[in-house]
């Protein structure tokens, strides 16, 4: 009876008692979720266009953030450093496509997945040798002040992050729906062979999509880096964005956003209201369990394409 109380009654009473606090928890969850979504976006882009489950996305985030900080430490102005880092990410996409993807064309998904784990090691090593492995402070001039709206404490930085994410998604949506390249990308995502047959150059598309993912990684790197410093643990965020992915569906951009929000909010609420019942620190696995339970009912995720199997 006591257990039932702790699990099913007390948390809701707590919520009802302090609605402002609940709102703060939800908002902080939403904002963490936005950050997860930013990392998950990069995954979705690459998975859609090339069917590669890119485990190295986290390492790309770290690599981009390290490059940016490294350039800025050498006295390069912010805007130039941003352009420089974006250029580095595009160059990286070229190298990855040429050296890694092209020889592995037509291999099974798990082989490509393995290769990206190798890439993950490689990027972490290269990034940290080139730019040093100590924790760095990233300051690109994002305002970071707290203010109150109706008794709820908000942070300008978090709002800025949400805004950036919204803009990014908007730009990507336009890019995918309205431009010729975007249409080509969607065609490749639908069917590689059909796309090749109508004359879409597959390798070029891959370079483009890895470049876009690299730039998304840069944005995510700036946000995470400015929030918690640029350090090795950034690459572990990739693991956290995996449940976001399966919740939203591997192939859906809106899915990545919604999934990120659900995971972010769910995780925060679970930690604060149900955490004490379990002895705390349930944030580490809650997202995975949520995703797992969810998958039992909807195996393709919220917005994923329906999995149709033919014999």
């Amino acid at each position: 009876m006591d257990l039932m109380n702790i699990l099913f009654i007390a948390p809701f009473l707590d919520m009802a008692d302090a609605p402002v606090f609940l709102a703060e928890v939800v908002i902080s969850g939403v904002l963490t979720g936005v950050m997860y979504s930013l990392v998950a976006l990069g995954f979705v882009l690459i998975f859609k266009a090339s069917g590669v489950f890119n485990f190295a996305q986290g390492a790309m985030v770290l690599f981009a953030a390290l490059t940016l900080v490294g350039l800025m430490e050498r006295g390069v102005p912010v805007w130039l450093a941003l352009i420089g880092t974006a250029a580095v990410m595009v160059a990286l996409a070229f190298v990855i496509e040429r050296v890694m993807l092209r020889p592995l064309i037509n291999q099974e998904g798990i082989i490509l997945f393995m290769a990206t784990i190798g890439l993950d090691f490689l990027l972490q090593g290269v990034g940290q040798i080139a730019w040093g492995s100590n924790v760095k402070v990233l300051n690109v001039g994002i305002p970071n002040k707290s203010f109150e709206v109706g008794g709820i404490l908000l942070n300008e930085f978090d709002l800025f992050a949400a805004l950036i994410a919204a803009v990014l998604v908007g730009v990507l949506a336009v890019f995918f729906q309205k431009t010729a390249i975007g249409r080509a990308l969607r065609a490749v995502a639908d069917d590689h062979q059909a796309a090749l047959a109508v004359g879409i150059p597959l390798t070029t598309i891959w370079v483009i999509v890895w470049s876009v993912a690299g730039i998304v990684a840069l944005v995510a790197g700036i946000m995470w880096g400015a929030k918690s410093g640029v350090q090795f643990s950034l690459s572990l965020i990739a693991l956290k964005s995996l449940p976001v992915l399966i919740l939203g569906g591997f192939t859906s951009i809106p899915g990545a956003i919604i999934g990120g929000l659900i995971i972010g909010v769910g995780e925060k609420i679970a930690e604060i209201y149900w955490g004490p019942a379990f002895g705390g620190a349930i944030e580490g696995w809650f997202a995975y369990m949520l995703a797992l339970v969810f998958l039992l009912f909807r195996p393709q995720g919220l917005f994923g394409e329906r999995i149709i199997e033919r014999v």
Partner: protein, 358 residues
């Protein structure tokens, strides 16, 4: 010339169905076993046994376990570390509660505990496939380790939060604990690996193995020809977790001596997956070769700068190690995506004709 089956006639079904039908294979295996049992324990020093050979044997066992699940039954899993942890903690609990049970029996018992846990986390595999399943098994990885960290019962409320191998004997010889010699622990690990590798080899040749492969290749089609997906998949999870559980128990009791949950974190899962893929999916021999490669390469990379007298600060060395390791994996996948097992097969084909060019 060296490796020719010409002239080796099989006169009975039993001979035809032998695990090693060719006499050269039998000699080769016998030679390896003689060296491993008769020569290595006397020649190798403490460092080689403790830092190289014992981890290799243990990881080879875990890799065989994962290969049964991923390579044969086609279910991608990233929860290997957690299943190993279940084995280790189960052994610790059983052997501290019932010290009179023989420790080697306890290893097998904890394998069954791990198998039970594996079945529970294998249930989603009935609806989820591929990478979705891999992420779902991550839930096992994080949840189980969190549980072992949080609940004091699992480590007997030890204030340091670690589990330590108590001294236990087998036939009057100290097997675990600080007083067990590296040679003993090596021989026990080797025996476990040999027995379980042979079991696995026979398992995958039989009805169960064929059912797994049918499920891997196309589960809907397998269902239509009368293979039950529920039983087959859960059996794959159970047996795979059994192997991983025994390997986990050996990790703490025969190799590390004492451990926390960090010894079984997500990187262990990745490491074992690397072994399986580098070695060759769907090959028992490949798992062993892959385990050898993945355990030896980092040791070689750590020691290589010292061998050529190159001074190297530790953290730079670590990053260079990461780069070389990652690079080698990509290189290897490009050169031979089917792993060492395939290379060995090609070598055998070549050896048939060698040294004659026709």
């Amino acid at each position: 010339m060296l490796y020719r089956e010409a002239g080796q006639f099989k006169t009975s079904y039993a001979k035809d169905q032998a695990v090693f039908p060719i006499i050269q294979d039998r000699w080769f295996i016998a030679l390896i076993l003689v060296v491993a049992y008769g020569v290595v324990p006397f020649v190798a020093n403490e460092y080689w046994l403790q830092a190289v050979l014992i981890p290799f044997l243990i990881f080879a066992l875990a890799a065989i376990g994962l290969n049964l699940l991923t390579g044969y039954a086609g279910q991608l899993s990233l929860g290997t570390g957690a299943f190993m942890a279940v084995g280790a903690y189960a052994t610790y609990k059983i052997t501290t509660a019932f010290p009179e049970i023989n420790i080697l029996v306890v290893f097998v018992m904890s394998g069954f505990v791990a198998a039970g846990v594996g079945v529970v986390f294998g249930i989603p595999s009935l609806r989820i496939k591929g990478f979705y399943l891999a992420v779902a098994t991550l839930a096992a990885q994080f949840f189980i380790l969190w549980l072992f960290n949080k609940v004091g019962w699992f480590y007997n409320d030890n204030p340091s939060g670690t589990i330590t191998a108590p001294p236990r004997t087998f036939l009057g010889i100290m097997v675990t604990g600080p007083e067990a010699t590296a040679e003993t622990r090596y021989l026990i690990s080797l025996t476990f690996l040999v027995i379980f590798a042979l079991l696995a080899k026979n398992l995958v040749r039989g009805r169960i193995g064929r059912a797994w492969m049918a499920i891997r290749d196309m589960d809907v089609a397998a269902e239509i020809i009368g293979i039950r997906p529920l039983q087959t998949k859960l059996l794959a999870f159970a047996i795979s977790s059994f192997y991983c559980g025994v390997a986990g128990a050996m990790t703490v009791f025969l190799w590390l001596g004492s451990a926390e949950t960090e010894a079984f974190d997500i990187f262990v899962s990745f490491q074992v997956l690397f072994m399986v893929i580098i070695g060759g999916l769907g090959s028992i021999l490949g798992s062993i070769l892959g385990a050898a490669f993945i355990t030896l390469v980092p040791i070689f990379l750590t020691n290589a700068p010292a061998l050529v007298n190159l001074p190297m600060p530790t953290d730079l060395g670590k990053h260079i190690e990461e780069i070389i390791f990652g690079g080698m994996i990509i290189f290897f996948l490009i050169v031979e995506p089917n792993g060492f097992a395939r290379l060995w097969q090609i070598a055998k084909e070549k050896l048939r004709r060698w040294p004659f060019p026709y």
